[in-house]
């Protein structure tokens, strides 16, 4: 049996899942080395019905989670290619830190200028979405290296607003 291996991180654990090439219908697979017989039906892209030992789960893919019976189960695929990037992001506790938009929105106010010294938890930018305003704070004390946005700008989720160093 020719199996492909996929590493899944879910609920804080790293699981090794081995799947056959064709994942439709009755399949034999391994989860952390334990054999599992499953019946898989793909209803649409990102939507499967999974039967394991009689139990049926209707599973929907939604971004970084799967939804089963209305509950979300977050997961990440452990892609070797992304390891470097993730290590980089996690490692910079003392280096420059970006303050990113936690949601799409409009910049209502910018509270700092480049070169300003800021304290930890000091507000730097206020963005607004859906009639709610959110003040974003500096994750650490430091100096504002860059202000990447101006008042009235529309920002996407994850977009860098300010860099503190």
């Amino acid at each position: 049996m020719n199996l492909k291996t996929i590493w899944i991180e879910t609920d804080g654990k790293r699981r090794r899942v081995e799947l056959p090439e064709d994942t439709q219908g009755a399949i034999e697979c391994l989860v952390d080395g334990v054999a599992l017989s499953a019946d898989v039906h793909t209803a649409a892209a990102g939507e499967i019905s999974l039967i394991v030992a009689g139990r049926q789960w209707h599973c929907l893919l939604d971004g970084d989670a799967i939804v089963i019976n209305g509950r979300r189960y977050g997961f990440a695929v452990d892609d070797p290619r992304s390891l470097r990037g993730r290590a980089g992001a996690a490692g910079g506790a003392t280096g420059p830190r970006s303050i990113k938009a936690p949601m799409p929105g409009r910049v209502v106010r910018v509270l700092v200028n480049e070169g300003d010294e800021v304290a930890e938890h000091q507000g730097v930018v206020i963005i607004e979405a859906m009639k709610m305003q959110n003040e974003l704070k500096s994750p650490r004390a430091g100096r504002i290296a860059r202000v990447a946005v101006a008042v009235d700008a529309t920002v996407d989720s994850g977009e860098v607003l300010v860099v503190v160093e």
């Binding site: 899944i8 879910t10 609920d11 892209a45 189960y73 990037g85 990113k100 936690p102 507000g123 859906m130």
Partner: protein
């Protein structure tokens, strides 16, 4: 189907689920519908549901849905005989009502005079006194200064509540436990009211402890008849915003219902009220009820009343606006069963209720027995940043309160909104909570519940199945979704807990 009716075409001066809901009743009555939209709403459901559609302007409400002048202009150009304002936006704007009257367009709501008499909180309190309605002890007029505030507070006794006269949605409100706190709170409430509503006028009320929020739906025709259509319990609130509403209230019996209903009708008739309105009360643990305010429009939560009365409130509004007398009398209004509504919002309860606009990549909607969904969204639509985060209202009916709750839990399990975050999981938590199921509610209930960490539900899917499903979906699913999934882990800030100041500006 359509007999000769004074209204043949209705412009709906609103957006989202309420615009669609109003259009549905219009269609059923054979009336043509006219939508208006802002630039960010060109693709919105209320536009594609309408017979005609006109662009108002850019996204911000002040440049679009609040532009009464443009809206009246489109009513004239399209030949609409009437305007339905929905809720929010221009629905309680007496000047707009007068502009409609001047332009010869029927405003589907009360006349400007009733709106002025009952719309301002302080004026409404005077009207309530005149109608001999019980109300929370306190000042009827705005407080001139801190000295008057101190004097009034001493009269009614602490704890007291400061409130903005022009307010709503919890803005300009401050609970004050002792005299020492009053000066600071008075200044803060006044300046918040000034910023939010353009008027710093505040007044004082006795603070009712652990009150329930219960409101009475009224409907009045142009011929002097006014009915009450039962009550709604709206005590499940967060930051003074209703989250779950139900009808009837578990604590209102026949006698209390009639007393509250008759008081509400008295108030409406005293101001020559016409059309749909809601009189809000606080109810204490001794079944005392106190007038709070009157909403001179259709409410978000009107569907729960529709389900237990069997009536269509929007159709009644339209018929009243055409000058028809109400076709039923008070004895004809019979309540049956129980209905619950959940307001589905684009917000993330796990992340401090952060708003979550964006593209809806997947939508599975609940249906079947006893389930009603009033929605303003569709799969593929991008929820804009500019407005209230309400996506839809899920409403369930059951023969009993318990049956309605269990049906709602079933419907919530069927409801999947992908691509953005919603508060669906929060409802599941509330509906499983013992206090909620026992109807031990007051307006502080939800805030207290949210202080308790959420307990893991029992029937979790086994971990190996989750891993297998994830692996299967990741290897066969849509590439872009999978990429998003992995992308998220690159963003430690995406879980960033927003501790920032939040202003609850929702209507």
């Amino acid at each position: 189907m359509t007999e000769a009716m004074p209204i043949k075409k209705v412009l709906i001066a609103n957006r989202g689920e309420i615009a669609v809901r109003v259009m549905r009743s219009c269609r059923e009555m054979g009336l043509r519908t006219v939508a208006v939209y802002s630039d960010v709403d060109r693709g919105a459901l209320h536009v594609s549901y309408a017979d005609e559609a006109y662009r108002l302007g850019p996204g911000p409400a002040t440049e679009s849905y609040l532009r009464g002048d443009l809206i009246l202009d489109f009513a004239r150009r399209s030949g609409a005989d009437a305007i339905h304002p929905g809720y929010g936006f221009l629905s309680e704007n007496a000047a707009f009502v007068e502009a409609c009257e001047a332009a010869g367009v029927i405003f589907i709501g009360p006349p400007a005079s009733s709106m002025r008499a009952l719309g301002s909180k302080t004026k409404a309190r005077q009207a309530a006194d005149a109608a001999q309605m019980p109300r929370v002890p306190g000042s009827v007029t705005g407080l001139a200064n801190i000295d008057e505030a101190l004097r009034v507070a001493r009269e009614i006794g602490y704890p007291v509540m400061l409130k903005a006269a022009a307010g709503g949605g919890g803005k300009g409100m401050r609970a004050v436990a002792t005299e020492a706190e009053l000066p600071t709170a008075y200044t803060a409430a006044g300046s918040e009211a000034e910023r939010s509503f353009g008027s710093g006028e505040v007044y004082l009320e006795k603070l009712i402890e652990r009150p329930r929020h219960i409101e009475v739906q009224v409907m009045a025709d142009m011929h002097g008849r006014c009915l009450y259509l039962g009550e709604r319990e709206c005590s499940v609130q967060r930051r003074h915003q209703k989250v779950i509403e139900e009808a009837p209230s578990a604590v209102v019996g026949e006698v209390l219902r009639r007393r509250m209903g008759e008081a509400a009708v008295r108030l409406a008739l005293s101001a020559s009220y016409v059309n749909a309105g809601t009189v809000e009360f606080l109810v204490d643990s001794q079944e005392n009820f106190y007038f709070l305010e009157m909403n001179t429009r259709l409410q978000v939560e009107h569907p729960v009343t529709e389900l237990i009365t069997g009536l269509d409130l929007v159709q009644m509004q339209l018929r009243v606006a055409m000058g028809e007398p109400l076709g039923l009398c008070q004895e004809d209004v019979q309540l049956r069963g129980h209905a619950i509504e959940c307001r589905i919002y684009a917000e993330d309860p796990e992340n401090n209720f952060m708003p979550s606009p964006g593209r809806i990549t997947r939508l599975e909607r609940p249906s079947g027995p006893g389930v009603r969904e009033d929605s303003g969204i569709y799969e593929g639509w991008t929820v804009p940043l500019d407005y209230d985060p309400m996506l839809s209202k899920l409403v369930c009916y059951g023969a009993t309160r318990a049956a309605a709750i269990d049906r709602m839990l079933r419907a919530l399990d069927e409801y999947v909104v992908g691509g953005i975050r919603t508060n669906i999981a929060l409802f599941r938590r509330i509906l499983l909570d013992e206090d909620f199921r026992a109807a031990r509610l007051d307006t502080g209930y939800l805030e207290r519940l949210l202080l308790v960490p959420s307990i893991e539900e029992e029937d979790r899917v086994p971990e190996d199945v989750v891993a297998l499903a994830a692996a299967l979906l990741a290897s066969t699913g849509r590439r872009d979704e999978v990429r998003n999934g992995m992308g998220r882990t690159d963003l430690p800030e995406s879980r960033w807990a927003a501790t920032g100041r939040r202003e609850g500006l929702r209507a």
